[in-house]
Symmetry: C2
Subunit: 374 residues, 2 copies
């Protein structure tokens, strides 16, 4: 008789921490594997071109029903789905609700759950708290980028904004470029900058100098690596003249840069996965940049306006898979645009499932012994 029993593992946030979800070094390594698979093409995401970020539920500005949720900062639901190959060979999704008002309740802006599924049968393998998966996988990508795109001898790091994502980005950047000696921080709330500065001072003695800056310009000047991870609708503006030759700009969130610079030969444009932006161009309406402020969506606008061509954009995965050149010299200014992808969540979730199994963590949930209808 067939064994039709289905069980799967549940991991709450504490168990995720025990499984190592906050191990940024391992996370950077796993994300590097993901980009290698992306570069080879051994993955499938949702949507028409198989590269969709996910499916979004957004709410109206003026609901016609008294109980209907109203649009507000970061308010949405999103399902992000992927199959990932290589040693992962697993399907999965991240499903979350987000609402800035959560912060006033002591809850995170977004509450995220990750599910992994057998790639053949679709049976659930695991359900896990996704908040730390998401924060760490997002933070890890700048570190992966820095490995290939930042100068080897990078010494000065600039962090624009000082929230949760800036902190996780810092963790990966210092992991990839341990020679960083100076960190310059700017946030519109000085208190946030000081909190992040204190965290770095306490945990990273190799960082000799930490400056809390009064402006973006001050924070950006002389930096070898600039990471911009601000939330909110006003995207930090950075001017080309502030940039040092050879700077690596890590851009996981909204950013404003001069069009003339972006379309010039004076910068190299790398993104996490250009096809995902192409999927967005079908799912959203122009101007795309105004929606989330991502540099990749700015490229969409510039391409539709005839000011940039697709051939001027490189994918990080192709560089890691060896299909395209990495940094060419110490004077090249490189912009890495990131939009976030479900393959990251699936990969980091899968690693947590492996770690949890080894450590015997989690609760086994039973789905059925024999399905009622089959």
């Amino acid at each position: 008789m067939e064994n039709t029993r289905v069980d799967f593992l549940y991991l709450d946030e504490e168990e995720m921490i025990e499984a190592g979800v906050k191990d940024m070094h391992q996370c950077v390594g796993v994300m590097e594997e993901v980009f290698s698979l992306l570069g080879q093409g051994d993955y499938i995401m949702g949507g028409k071109n198989h590269n969709s970020h996910g499916i979004l539920i957004s709410f109206p500005d003026e609901p016609q029903f008294p109980n209907m949720p109203k649009n507000g900062p970061d308010r949405r639901f999103m399902a992000m789905t992927a199959y990932l190959g290589g040693r992962f060979r697993v399907a999965g999704e991240k499903w979350y609700g987000s609402n800035k008002e959560n912060l006033s309740k002591g809850l995170p802006r977004s509450i995220l759950m990750v599910m992994l599924n057998d790639a053949d049968t679709g049976a659930p393998l695991a359900l896990m708290s996704g908040n730390l998966i998401s924060a760490f996988r997002t933070g890890a990508i700048p570190g992966v980028g820095a490995k290939y795109l930042a100068k080897k001898d990078s010494r000065v790091l600039s962090l624009i904004a000082a929230g949760v994502i800036s902190r996780t980005c810092f963790l990966s950047l210092i992991d990839s470029r341990p020679g960083i000696e100076t960190v310059k921080i700017y946030d519109i709330y000085r208190e946030s900058s000081e909190k992040l500065a204190a965290f770095i001072k306490e945990n990273y003695p190799s960082v000799k100098e930490i400056c809390v800056c009064g402006s973006i310009e001050e924070a950006v000047k002389d930096a070898d690596i600039i990471n911009v991870a601000a939330s909110g609708k006003i995207y930090p503006k950075i001017e080309e003249r502030w940039l040092k030759p050879g700077a690596f700009l890590s851009l996981p969130a909204g950013i404003e840069l001069e069009e003339e610079f972006l379309t010039s030969g004076r910068c190299r444009r790398v993104v996490d996965n250009w096809k995902m932006y192409e999927a967005w161009s079908e799912e959203l309406t122009k101007p795309y940049w105004n929606i989330m402020g991502l540099i990749g969506t700015k490229y969409l606008d510039l391409i539709e306006d005839g000011k940039l061509s697709v051939s001027q954009i490189d994918n990080l995965g192709e560089i890691i898979a060896g299909k395209k050149e990495g940094r060419k010299d110490d004077r090249e200014i490189i912009l890495l645009g990131m939009g976030g992808m479900p393959v990251y969540d699936v990969a980091w979730g899968f690693q947590m499932l492996e770690n949890a199994r080894k450590k015997g963590l989690g609760t086994t949930l039973h789905l059925w012994d024999r399905p009622d209808m089959a």
Copy 2:
């Protein structure tokens, strides 16, 4: 201090049954509520027009990687997301993997999970086994349709195909039209027809006559209600000349009907939600009908070919909400096309959560006491 603890309920398949997931009478009532909300507009689904069925992962016919899943019958992953208003006021999703090969393992074709989430914070409220939610909510829609669109004195029911979905459709149709005395069944596997016939005979003494038919034509002739729920790539073909005046065709799956009939004044075209088909027309590529065989996707093709206009299609929700007329007379032939929507899963899942709470069913899962990062 804020209460930041998050718990949610897990219900396995057996607990779902105890909660009443197989109570078709209640399910038809809840689905009727859903259509009323759809008719009013008190819901939001995913995608650009807020009416997307969901996001699909499909696999290539010729994978370039040895381990990558290969396209095959019903092989896909899908996330279906929705917010539903009214007394539900909840967000949620159904996430599933599907693969016909599961059947050879004693597993259902699709393995489905439903999650419900607080519409404001996004926090999970419940995770539940979704297979019976899906089978029953799909089966319930023909019953909702029959209430408004089948003749009151319908006596003869024709079931084309005799699988799981045909059985659940039968349950709702007999619930809405208890006067049914004759059931005619056709399936390409006679054994399947006989199994369904035996089930009806055993459980529904009000059905006086059950015929296992040798052809679609034989099964369809003289029927007041015709339900077509075949899986697979060959869509059952029904000819207009076989149809009795006043017939109600309930079409939850692939179907072939003559174009000349479909574009004529001799039938009325009702669908579950026309906007969902419009979303499909952006997510898929023409010809749409060939992809799933749904009558609604056939209308998309006919509209793009200039043979039909949107004004010739009515939504069931508008009829139930009283915005459009139901059946006009006893001679009208009415086709109800269905494509399936995540609002059904959210609604029936929500009802199960309420039922389970009342009965004290399920396992409480803990997410966190205080989130690690907020």
